[in-house]
Subunit: 201 residues, 2 copies
Amino acid sequence: MFKVIAISRQFGSGGRTVGVQAAKRLNIPCYDQELIERVAKNSGFAKEYIESYSEYATHRGWLGRVIDGAARFEGMNNQDKIWVEQRKIILEISQSPCVIVGRCADYILRDRDDVLKVFVHADEKSRAERVVKIYGESAEKPEKRIRDKDKRRSAYYKNYTETEWGVASNYHIALDSGKLGIEQCVDILVALYNKNTKLTT
Amino acid sequence: MFKVIAISRQFGSGGRTVGVQAAKRLNIPCYDQELIERVAKNSGFAKEYIESYSEYATHRGWLGRVIDGAARFEGMNNQDKIWVEQRKIILEISQSPCVIVGRCADYILRDRDDVLKVFVHADEKSRAERVVKIYGESAEKPEKRIRDKDKRRSAYYKNYTETEWGVASNYHIALDSGKLGIEQCVDILVALYNKNTKLTT
């Protein structure tokens, strides 16, 4: 039986929505924004700062890295400190049934038998439409925003987990929300969580 | 609505069994051995020869490649000829509802809207146990057989499709049969095929 669902997702795939809706149907909490708030409270960093650094690699050049280096305190830079705090909170909240979106929870909880590891992705066209619908237009084309965000998420994941992001064999189930639709993705996760994949006839 | 299910699978993951059982439940044919027989009939090659060359890259050294080169006829070696014949048969059989296991069918039918692209995988331990159970013991350790077969399948896939095997975003759904079990994987595919992912309560 699964206790926790850990969802990794491509930017704009609706993976967060899948998590929120599955949690609602299962009547368990979904941690995403709330996780950031807890990290903020425990670490002292501002929420906006955590949002930028809690699952994205920075893409600054060598000067940025020099500044990062100078900002190190006891060998950890700010991103490392957020990682440590976030990891602690994930280990804590995962003691009770919940859905956790992003933040390498799948990796952090990899040795647990009761964690369903999920990856949600979609084709670029569906994601671009979704990004504009949810986050609005911006000067940058949605395709560019998607590629940039995914690249930074992937780099962040690799940096802290030393495994590849988006490789099928790292997840128990990977779903194309563009092709299958959000609702069917939610149905499947709810069914797996309840160990009841028999369909109605 | 899906018409065809194309299943790629890691060696020993039970992906073929998932395909056979899903097809049975959906009352549609499953092509695996039968596909080989058709290729044999149309190409003149022996079944055993096709089995070895229809989804595995050879792993011979330079001398093998020289012999391959010498055997080329009209620019195609035997493996290319099998690929062409296999592709033709896949395009033909996919006109009617069916399940196709392996043989890059997911790639060959990539532009079709009505093909559900599936990847089945499992952890090495589950696969090793399954390999011994189904194919029996051999001088080679099952872990070595698994790694060797996957490496050759992956190389074959890359050679003919120029895309990566096992990357989640190349499939509509990827399933860990070791964790979820064969039956749940079958349930999910049948549900998606029938566009009915609502579970019984």
